[in-house]
Symmetry: C2
Subunit: 304 residues, 2 copies
């Protein structure tokens, strides 16, 4: 199960009732954070979530509204007794940028491992997380991310019995091991006890980009697609182009093409005082759309 | 008139209902900010105050809870059309520290002038502000500040007439000029038209320090004395000593000695969930004491 909380929904600057866009994902007792603008640690506390279990922080890009809360968060993690290493992933120079910000937090009680992204797209396997990253189109280098949770095929008792697989190997085979049995000179494969491939979970998150082709490819088959929708008003198309952001309409156009199970907009302009007012109109085109407020939450579960 | 707003009252880390300690002072259309931890710009917006008129930012020291919101604030000042130069004052290396943090905000639409404090104490005259600074005793170099608004003596019509001061000089003399009249070969002084010296306004602000002697000297005769009171619980005395902070009791002891017109505590530990619960007890010792919440506001006016 992937537990997803959209901590904030704002772009550019925090507002009294709207924190900057960031996402917390929880998986088996571990947390992963995407982006950390000023106030993210407050949004986390408001959602009754501890900063302590955050093992991975993914930064999309180095504009302040996506990273200016990082130092406060790291310090609060230290104060909440975090001692285990954390991994920070981001565009080229992520280590240089975080180190420069750490002039006001030179000492932390845990290690930081950095992963600098350089390719157009790729896959990272960090701990229990499978993370796809892909380059977007913004004023500066910016990445989108998908979190994938693969699902093992089902164990089939009948199949194991039919294939005469010794009981002692069932558990290992279920967990993907291939076993050679010397005594019988036989090789056993996971497929000897397991059923068909099963669909896993996919969460795709992206902000601060023009609507480029790679998004459709990378967000395909998402259970939840969280996408920038900076402006709802139609007279802001030029702003979106000039500052390289995406309007709600542009985001929804992508949503219609890839047809995710559910879609959330985020990263609203401070000029959009009530982004939810567009929901009814846009749902006529994309019924699975939401225009969340801060703290929006969902558990993504395997389908049965 | 000095308009004073205590934007936040928290120490160490921001809480959902408590921003980090910072103070906004307004004087004749200009604002001065003391400290800027994470979320200060949100606290400012909550108090319905614009970041645009901030001409001076005083930083007490470089612990993150006092400066981590600076970059977000500077960016929001730019977004609110600030174009005039601002002055940032702080301990040695203030320019180096702010420049390092500006890795995520390299371009701002206004100039920053830095003033690095090096002495134990001193006076700065910046624009319309008279600022006294004085070194405190914390884990790292930390300064306290007083804002002084001098009051001109009263213009006395009768005195001007009695002294036969020509009408054309009255205005200049009122504003402190000394005038030599060639025709009459006479020198006119401000005291020829003005009454007695009058008491001005004094606001003293300090956090993150042990209770050292210099505080009594520098906060003497304050109209408003805002002072750290990190812990109310009596079992936190050792914490205060170890991390070089001040307990509420220690702060009040200073308050009793200098007897300011009004005293506010601030910079509460996150462990103090309801600092106001100590008010009744402490007011028995110091009746002019307040234990403010975020957004506490007062107008300091000349006495009549």
């Amino acid at each position: 199960m992937l537990d997803v909380t959209l901590l904030g929904t704002g772009g550019m600057m925090p507002l009294p009732n709207r924190h900057l866009t960031s996402l917390l994902v929880r998986l088996d007792g571990s947390s992963l954070l995407i982006d950390c603008g000023e106030g993210t640690q407050i949004a986390l506390a408001k959602a009754n979530l501890s900063p302590n279990p955050i093992d991975i922080i993914l930064i999309t890009h180095f504009h302040a509204d996506h990273i200016s809360g990082l130092i406060g968060l790291l310090l609060s993690m230290g104060n909440s007794d975090r001692r285990e290493k954390i991994t920070i992933v981001g565009p080229k120079d992520i280590e240089k940028v975080v180190s420069s910000l750490r002039i006001i937090a030179p000492q932390l009680p845990f290690k930081i491992e950095y992963i600098e992204l350089k390719n157009e797209k790729g896959i990272l396997n960090i701990g229990k997380y499978n993370i796809e990253y892909f380059k977007l189109k913004h004023k500066i280098t910016c990445y989108g991310y998908s979190i994938l949770v693969p699902r093992l095929p089902e164990f089939q008792l009948e199949k194991a019995k039919e294939n005469n697989i010794p009981l002692k190997y069932w558990n290992k085979l279920q967990h993907g091991e291939i076993i050679y049995d010397k005594e019988n000179e036989k090789t056993y494969k996971p497929s000897d006890v397991m059923g068909e491939e099963r669909e896993g979970l996919k969460l795709t998150y992206l902000t601060d980009t023009r609507p480029v082709k790679i998004i459709e490819e990378m967000a395909k088959n998402a259970n939840l697609f969280i996408c920038e929708g900076m402006y709802g008003e139609s007279d802001k198309d030029d702003n979106a182009k000039e500052y390289m952001h995406m309007t709600m309409k542009e985001a929804i156009k992508i949503g219609v093409k890839i047809n995710p199970k559910e879609m959330w907009l985020t990263h609203y302009s401070p000029s959009e005082m009530k982004p939810q007012k567009y929901l009814e109109e846009f749902r006529r085109t994309l019924p699975q759309l939401f225009i969340p407020k801060d703290g929006w939450h969902k558990e993504l579960k395997f389908e049965d």
